[in-house]
Amino acid sequence: MEALITWLDSRLADNSIFTLQTLSYYGEGLVTTVQLVFLSLVLGLVAAVPLAIGRGAKRRWVRLPIFLYCYVFRGTPLLVQLYLIYYGVVFVEGIQETWLWVILEKPFVPALIAFTLNTAAYTTEIFHGAIKATAKGEIEAARAYGMSQRLMMRRIIIPSAFRRALPAYGNEVIFMLHASAIASVVTIMDLTGAARFVYARFYAPFEAFLFVAAIYLCLTFAILYLFRYLEKRLLAHLKPASG
């Protein structure tokens, strides 16, 4: 490790912008971005499954609030949601004295909340669409077997809807990665925050942003590859039988 750093340092000796110092900003930014996106996606996914089922419920008082939630969070820019959550909470009288402030004081949790709520809304709609598109025959077959609504949901509808939703959800994951670039407006040093810092410090927009664009490309490539693999595994039954 020591030798690697020395080697890297010598390679960067005549580079005034990409020093070890700025590379470490990018490195920390990468960690922050991946943490933020990964956590919000996992939390959003966990929330979206029950919400998607509820979104198609027969009872109005279950369906309507979920519809409203999705409508509001898909209908407003993520940047506005982030501003409202980060700067908005401080206008709640006396919040600084409660335990909530411990987690809301730093920008990470407010950003995580905004991102999670946003991606959960989109994912809910994706899953809801996939559930609605379940083939009639599958449902009728399940009924014929005497499955209860609950069992049918668990064994038939959710697994098949999940697979159908996979390509669309892969898109949502990539969108979320790119949307996370706005985290730097609430002082988080994510990848874009690091790029903006380097840009502002060295007045080098091309170097700072091209480099960060390349990192985003690599991340996107990894996500694409992961979803290609998942689709190959889980959607194998959709492939035409090869001769």
Binding site: V90, E105, T187, M189, G193, R196, Y199, A200, R201
Partner: protein, 257 residues
């Protein structure tokens, strides 16, 4: 008698030099990033005003050209100059070596110090690595204060970087920041004067080391516009001589020490 003759000769001389410059210097557009009180901001009626605006207008009048102000965000203010969207930047821009590689500066027209500001109830001694350890410090991204704090205290304190001074004040109001490091005049007008008693200045005014704080604020031009810079330097010298400069200074900063 002799003094007066010398003075009038001097003024005549300046007028002649300015007169010659006049023939070569065209009307220009000057970029400014608002608000940055009291250097540049808008009146409630929406008109641009501030030290930079008044001094800039006086300089243009002295040279004898028309100047148009263009409002431009700080992040893109130097690229905009390069892209010829305007011909000069007069927006509290500190002269330093990194910027000098990109732009041509006039002589410094003011040298404001930076200072630490903190909520009145936060106990901070003279700012140092020990006293700031573990604190959250606010700076405006890409400013010299950002560079200074990042290099001096980046390892011991959390540095939050904001796009605008407004966001920073909001976060200080909410208790997210323990201290901010700002240009003194801006901090004084936004934190001390307008929010009486909530904030205090901590420690001394800071103007050293020069590698961070530069030589003061300068007007930035494109490297090739040497004549334009010369014209502004001559006009600045003339205004400093005839007292116009002091009048404008006192209007925004009170009595000059």
């Amino acid at each position: 008698m002799t003094l007066r003759t010398t003075l009038s000769l001097g003024v005549l001389g300046v007028a002649m030099i300015v007169g010659t410059a006049n023939a070569e210097v065209r009307d220009i557009r000057i970029a400014v990033d608002v608000p940055y009180e009291p250097m540049e901001y808008r009146t409630p009626e929406g008109e641009l005003t501030g030290f930079d605006i008044d001094l800039g207008n006086a300089l243009c009048a002295e040279i004898g050209i028309q100047c148009e102000w263009v409002v431009q965000g700080w992040d893109g203010i130097i690229p905009g100059l390069m892209a010829r969207k305007y011909d000069a930047i007069m927006s509290s821009m500190t002269i330093n070596e990194q910027r000098r590689e990109q732009v041509l500066f006039s002589d410094p027209y003011i040298t404001p110090p930076s200072a630490w500001f903190a909520p009145a109830d936060v106990e901070i001694g003279t700012p140092s690595e020990e006293t700031l350890e573990g604190m959250t410090i606010g700076v405006q991204r890409g400013t010299l204060q950002d560079n200074y704090v990042t290099d001096m205290y980046g390892d011991v304190a959390d540095v939050n970087r904001y796009a605008t001074a407004d966001d920073m004040v909001l976060d200080m109001d909410s208790g997210r920041l323990d201290a901010v490091f700002l240009d003194f005049p801006i901090g004084k007008s936004t934190l001390i004067d307008s929010e009486a008693g909530d904030y205090k200045v901590v420690g001394e005014m800071i103007t050293e080391p020069k590698e961070y704080f530069g030589e003061g604020f300068g007007i930035a031009f494109r490297q090739r516009d040497q004549e334009l810079a010369d014209a502004f330097n001559e006009a600045l010298a003339a205004l400093q001589e005839d007292g116009t400069y002091d009048e404008i200074f006192e209007e925004y900063f009170g009595e000059q020490e």
